[in-house]
């Protein structure tokens, strides 16, 4: 039972981690929390449904195509919700992401209908070993999400493009002065954020089905992961995601399945009391 719970919680945690990374990238680049992050997860799941169930693309192709489409969604999202409002008060941008959250859900309802949908898993069937019996998709999710995280981490830390993105995130004005096209850098950040979140949606869609509201709970838990990990830290987001996943699943099994969400957010409050800057966080005074 414990091994089963560990695998399930890792799969959930790593998806929370992907969404949390999406939050952090946008936060670092433009200084706002994107309240539509969970809905980008939902968008990724619907794109996956269209590519695999309707278009019948083979899984590897669908995975790449989904990533490309979600990157494009990220760019469009950037130009609709952030770019026209970039010079206004940050609250304005946040309200615009909330608007985008509602709009994305309603667009999904209009395009795909209100009924939930199911998607074929990347590897169908059930893995059985030791006392564990779990869908292969849980293991696939862990592997692909971890690989994607590694790639994004490498891109940000080790490449020239990563330097450009980080420079823009630190100081848009200074970046502009040294000749970095800020619009390219910020839209690229939004593209990466939407891409990783969308792939998260694609990975969990065969496990939890596709519905317009599927982004709500992962969005909230990822937000908790961001705070636990440290606002603005990419490794913090990943660790935070896994911590939230483990607390969520194990409290459901051993404490109370009714109050598992409450326990997650109670841990969030405790984390804020004990270490308000998060595991990898900068000092809180720098943030405010």
């Amino acid at each position: 039972m414990v091994l089963q719970l560990i695998i399930a919680s890792l799969a959930m945690g790593i998806v929370y981690g992907l969404v949390a990374m999406g939050f952090v990238l946008i936060w670092r680049a433009v200084g706002v929390v994107n309240f539509a992050q969970g809905d980008l997860l939902m968008a990724g799941a619907y794109v996956a449904f269209t590519l695999t169930e309707l278009e019948g693309l083979p899984m590897p192709v669908a995975l790449v195509a989904c990533a490309a489409i979600m990157a494009l969604v990220g760019v469009v999202f950037h130009f609709l919700t952030y770019w026209p409002l970039r010079k206004s008060w940050d609250m304005t941008v946040i309200i615009s992401t909330i608007g985008a959250s509602i709009a994305l859900k309603e667009i999904a309802t209009l395009v795909w209908g209100p009924a939930p949908l199911s998607v074929e898993p990347i590897i169908p069937g059930i893995a059985r070993f030791a006392s564990v019996s779990i869908e292969w998709q849980f293991l696939v999710t862990i592997v692909i999400a971890a690989a994607l995280m590694g790639m994004i981490f490498y891109l940000l830390e080790k490449t020239y493009i990563g330097n450009i993105l980080q420079a823009t995130a630190q100081d848009q004005y200074a970046a502009e002065l040294i000749g970095i096209p800020v619009v390219v850098a910020t839209s690229m950040t939004f593209a990466i954020s939407a891409l990783i979140t969308g792939i998260g949606g694609m990975l969990i869609s065969p496990i939890f089905f596709v519905s317009t509201t599927m982004g709500g709970s992962p969005g909230l838990k990822a937000f908790a992961a961001v705070i636990i990990g440290g606002f603005g830290s990419v490794p913090g987001a990943i660790i935070g995601g896994i911590v939230v996943g483990v607390i969520d699943t194990f409290s459901g099994a051993y404490i109370s399945s009714t109050y598992r969400d409450a326990i997650v957010f109670l841990c969030l409050i405790l984390a804020l009391l004990v270490r308000p800057q998060g595991i990898f966080g900068e000092k809180i005074s720098d943030k405010v």
Binding site: L5, F35, S118, Q172
Partner: protein, 379 residues
């Protein structure tokens, strides 16, 4: 741009919670105006689509035949946004638009929250929630146009214990009013049969990963699972039970044999039992005709939401025919006197507490299609 503070994040989160209400109603100078309170936006919007479809189909049929006593029926539909406050607001809205009769939501909590307003406004209201608490309101203006959980939950428990011979049942249910109430009745019934449930597990509406609950059920050595869920969760639970290799009979609430849950669960639904108000594959002529008409009109299989709302319109039509007027008091008395009105989901007879539904069916999924095994008459 300056980075935002945590306080700002919090205040914005509060704003984000606020919803908006859309109205989709039109008032008509017709003879009988039905106000409908249902969910067209938000998380539960799917149920509202089914409800509206059922109502519109019934209306089309009745008015197509020249109405009731030559008088047409019209509807105005208001969105409740899927929450209790929204239901009360939508109820007040249809009142202000001049409704003569109201059809309330399928969610018991919303019906219960509307109850005081219904009593005060003295307007006959048909509610579709199944909670036993609705009858306990003793509200002379509120009519439960559905078989109450007291009947259906007891039927599930009886079937599991007597027909399937289960001795160590695990109960899994949503924490909402409908599922909690039903699980309570089933627990009581099982205790009375001397086979109390060995485990009762819960989850919150919208939870996706049932691994913790199912792992506990598997570890408990249960020989059967009784489950009360909404549509998506029903599909998820059937799939996760199979993927976790739990090979015991599952008896679920009506959601388990809806087309939506079956499409989601696919092969995993095979053999699952359910206690159902309505299944689209029911061969009874009147029901089969409804299912066919519904599918032809909406290109979608009908569900219990649509069937019960469809029935509600016919129950109103029956009362209107006998009352001969849209006077609220006369309509209430005519509704209270509804007797053996055959609907597509059950037969309606209102008792002293205004509970109308009389029966449920025991159903099993065979080759992907829910088949009726037997009908249980509750009273």
């Amino acid at each position: 741009m300056k980075k935002m503070s945590f306080r700002k994040i919090l205040s914005v989160s509060a704003v984000a919670v606020l919803g908006c209400f859309l109205s989709a109603g039109t008032a008509n100078a017709q003879e009988l105006k039905i106000g409908v309170v249902t969910t067209l936006t938000g998380e539960k919007a799917l149920t509202g689509v089914y409800s509206r479809n059922g109502i519109m189909l019934a209306l089309e049929e009745i008015n197509g035949k020249g109405g009731v006593n030559g008088k047409k029926i019209s509807v105005m539909i208001e969105d409740d946004g899927g929450n209790d406050a929204g239901a009360v607001n939508a109820f007040n809205k249809v009142l202000s638009l001049g409704a003569d009769v109201v059809i309330g939501p399928i969610y018991s909590t919303m019906d219960l929250s509307m109850s005081p307003s219904i009593k005060k406004a003295e307007i006959p209201t048909l509610v579709i929630g199944s909670s036993n608490d609705i009858a306990k309101q003793k509200n002379p203006w509120m009519f439960q146009t559905r078989t109450a959980d007291a009947v259906s939950a007891a039927a599930i428990a009886n079937y599991a214990a007597k027909k399937l011979g289960l001795k160590k049942v695990a109960i899994l249910h949503d924490t909402d009013n409908f599922a909690s109430g039903a699980a309570e009745v089933a627990t009581k019934t099982l205790e009375d049969l001397k086979v109390p449930p060995i485990l009762v597990e819960k989850y919150n509406t919208g939870d996706k990963d049932m691994t913790p609950q199912l792992a506990k059920i598997r570890a408990s050595g249960a020989d059967g699972i009784l489950a009360w869920s909404q549509l998506v969760e029903a599909g998820l639970i059937m799939k996760q039970i199979q993927s976790m290799d739990i090979k015991v009979p599952v008896v679920g609430s009506n959601s388990y044999v809806t087309k939506i849950a079956l499409d989601l669960a696919k092969d995993n639904a095979e053999g699952v039992y359910s206690v159902a108000d309505y299944v689209y594959s029911n061969p009874a002529p009147w029901t089969a005709q409804f299912a066919a008409n519904y599918k032809a009109k909406y290109k979608l299989e009908s569900e219990f939401n649509s069937a019960m709302n469809y029935d509600a319109v016919y129950v109103i039509a029956d009362a209107f025919k006998r009352a001969g007027t849209n006077d609220k008091k006369a309509m209430r008395d005519a509704l209270a006197a509804v007797k053996e009105v055959v609907g597509v989901s059950t037969t309606y007879t209102f008792d002293a507490n205004n509970v109308g539904g009389t029966s449920v069916a025991i159903v099993q999924v065979r080759k992907g299609v829910p088949q009726i095994i037997e009908s249980v008459r509750g009273r």
